[in-house]
C-alpha cells in the first residue's frame, strides 16, 4: 500500500503546516486542506544516534531535518551513507517504528539518485 505524508494548508491564508495544528500560525484560521508533501528536499542538519530508545534493535539510526521546496521543514530518519548539510535528499515514506499490531509510517530521507 502506498502511504503518503501530507502538509496542511490553511484554507484562509495558504500557510503550510506540518504536523497539523488546530489554529493557523499566521492568520488564526482553523480550516486546513491536505496537500502532498514529498519529493526532493535539502538536508539542513543531521545526526547519528547510538543510544536509541527502547524498541530499536539497531546499533544506531540516522536522523535529519530537511527543508522541502515549499519551505516546510520536517524531521525524519536519514539513510544516507555520507550525509552533508546542504545536500539534496529524497523523502520516501516507510515504517519508522515497528509497533505491536501497528507500524508507524513517516519520512525516511535517502540518497537522491
Amino acid at each position: 500500500m502506498d502511504r503518503e505524508m501530507v502538509a496542511y494548508q490553511c484554507s484562509r491564508c495558504g500557510e503550510l503546516h506540518h504536523p497539523l495544528h488546530y489554529v493557523c500560525r499566521k492568520c488564526g484560521g482553523r480550516d486546513f486542506a491536505e496537500v502532498p508533501l514529498r519529493g526532493e528536499a535539502t538536508l539542513l542538519t543531521w545526526t547519528k544516534v547510538y543510544n536509541l530508545p527502547e524498541g530499536y534493535m539497531k546499533p544506531f539510526l540516522g536522523f535529519g531535518i530537511v527543508e522541502f521546496g515549499n519551505g516546510l521543514r520536517v524531521a525524519g530518519q536519514l539513510e544516507v551513507d555520507q550525509p552533508e548539510c546542504g545536500m539534496k535528499v529524497r523523502a520516501k515514506v516507510d515504517v519508522v517504528r515497528e509497533g505491536i499490531g501497528q507500524d508507524y509510517y513517516g519520512f525516511i530521507f535517502i540518497q537522491k539518485e
Binding site: 547510538y50 534493535m57 539497531k58 546499533p59
Partner: protein, 227 residues
Amino acid sequence: MAVLDKMEAQLRPVETPMVPYPAKYITQASGEKLVVHQLSRDDVPHLLKAIQPLTTVEKDFYDVVACRVVSELVGWLRYRVKDEYCLLGTVNGEIVGMVNGRMLTEKIGMSYHTLAIRQGLRLGAQLFAAKMEYHMDFLKQDEVWVVAESPNGFKRWMIEYELEPRFEQWHELGGVPTYVLTRKLWEKHKAAKCGGRRPVPEELMAVAKQMILPSTYGQIPGYRREA
C-alpha cells in the same frame, strides 16, 4: 604436594597450546589507565575473592554472572575445563572487572562471561572487546559464540556488534539463544569498540599485577572488605 595419580590424569582435559594475550592499557576518561592482562591458573584463587561478594547481588543479574564465573574459574583451576582463559582489568592495581572464555575448537571461540566490578566507566564494554580481540586477532579464530544473560549484555553485544543469531547452535552456558561474532562483524566494529596500546610500560604492568581486591562494591551498599 599431592601426587598426580593415573586416575586424575585421565580426568584432565588435553590442553591445546594457546598464544598468550599480550597485555594492553586504555586511558580512561578519568585519565587513569585500565590495564588488561591475562591471568594464569595460579591467579584464580585470588581472583575468586574479588568476585565472591557479587554472587548474591540480584540487581542486573550479577548473581547469575558471578556464580557462573566462580564455577568456570574453579573448573579451570581444578583442570575440568579445556582451553579456558581469563583476562583481568585493573585500574591503579585494583581489580575492576574480568572476562573469560575458551577455545571450543581451533576455529571457534566460546565466550563465557564479562563481569564489570567497578561501574560507571563502561569498563565491561572495553573488557568484552578485549576478549573478542583475543579470539579473533591472537587466537586467529573464525568466530566467537556469545550469549547474554542480562539486558545490558544484550544491548552491548548483540545489538551494538550486530551479532548474528544462530539459535540452532547450542552455547555451553545452556539454553540462552546463541549469537555469533563473525570475522566480518569484528572487522566492522573493531575500530569503534576495541581500544588500547601495547606494550604496557613496565612500571604500569607491575602495578597491574598487584591485583588489589576491591574494598567496596557499588553494587553492595555498605560493604567493606575486612582487612
